[in-house]
């Protein structure tokens, strides 16, 4: 086995695994802030796919996509965390199951 070459698919599967873990986190975590972190994990997983594909195609565009995803993630984080702060002020909890003023 050649120790200097790793198949691209390994990276992609790692990415898929991370993505799935992110989705699972989104489903099972009960604190808003960790739910949000799970989303960040998903985005990171996607980024890994992008970079792998960019490497495979020798296309810079894939990397730039990742760059933009990062910027957007930063913007989203700013807004998301601001929302989380405002919800904490209003409800004094971050538990997903207690954010239920509007249930039937």
């Amino acid at each position: 086995m050649n120790f200097d070459v790793v198949p691209s698919s390994w990276y992609l599967i790692l990415s898929a695994l991370l993505f799935s873990l992110g989705v699972i986190g989104f489903l099972i975590k009960r604190s808003l802030i960790t739910v949000f972190m799970s989303i960040e994990l998903m985005l990171n997983a996607v980024n890994l796919s992008f970079v792998t594909f960019a490497h495979d195609w020798h296309a810079v565009k894939g990397q730039i996509f990742v760059f933009f995803v990062m910027m957007v993630a930063a913007a989203e984080a700013a807004v998301g965390l601001a929302i989380i702060i405002s919800i904490f002020r209003a409800r004094a909890t971050l538990n997903v199951d207690q954010i239920d003023l509007m249930k039937l």
Binding site: Y11, G22, I24, H55, D97
Partner: protein, 166 residues
């Protein structure tokens, strides 16, 4: 060498991600996520994306996650309460995740024959190459990001500010 590095950091990634799920305190989850992100940065280096690796550290680990920990500290968020959550989400969600993972993995493995391997020596993208495309062909999206960030700043201020102050 490459294989070893890949395995190590992939393991870090996965361990971090799993730890993110297992930890009940948000700050630990955040730190796990930082581990994931930093390991990803190394993987990017392995894939020849050195600018992205640095950006990953600076933007994600250094800015986004700082914000997260900052908020955790500011709100003094405690341990996660163990509430059962939505059963429907789990009943549908987990099989769906398994299916997605299975399908993607199968497809990826099947596609592997069309993909090249990754080795350290090939295809390092220099920052110049990156900027050339970024400021030329993708100028419009780049400029658009400024609008996005403007909105984010505006929104963060608008949302986090307490009512009654101007």
């Amino acid at each position: 060498m490459h294989l070893v590095l890949f395995l190590i950091f992939a393991a870090f990634c996965l361990a971090g991600a799993i730890n993110l799920l297992l930890q009940s305190h948000p700050i630990n989850s955040a730190l796990s996520l930082i581990v994931v992100m930093s390991s990803l940065a190394v993987l990017y280096l392995l894939l020849g994306a050195e600018f992205l690796a640095a950006a990953q550290i600076i933007v994600y680990a250094g800015a986004v996650m700082v914000l997260f920990t900052f908020v955790v500290m500011l709100l003094n968020v405690g341990e996660e309460e163990k509430t059962h959550g939505s059963r429907v989400a789990k009943v549908i969600g987990f099989p769906a995740v398994a299916v997605i993972l299975g399908v993607v993995a199968t497809i990826v493995l099947e596609t592997q024959k069309h993909l090249a391997g990754v080795s350290l020596s090939d295809g390092v993208t220099t920052t110049q190459d990156l900027s050339r495309v970024l400021f030329h062909e993708l100028l419009l999206p780049f400029e658009l990001t400024s609008v996005l960030i403007l909105i984010a700043i505006l929104g963060a201020v608008a949302l986090a500010r307490k009512e009654g102050h101007s």
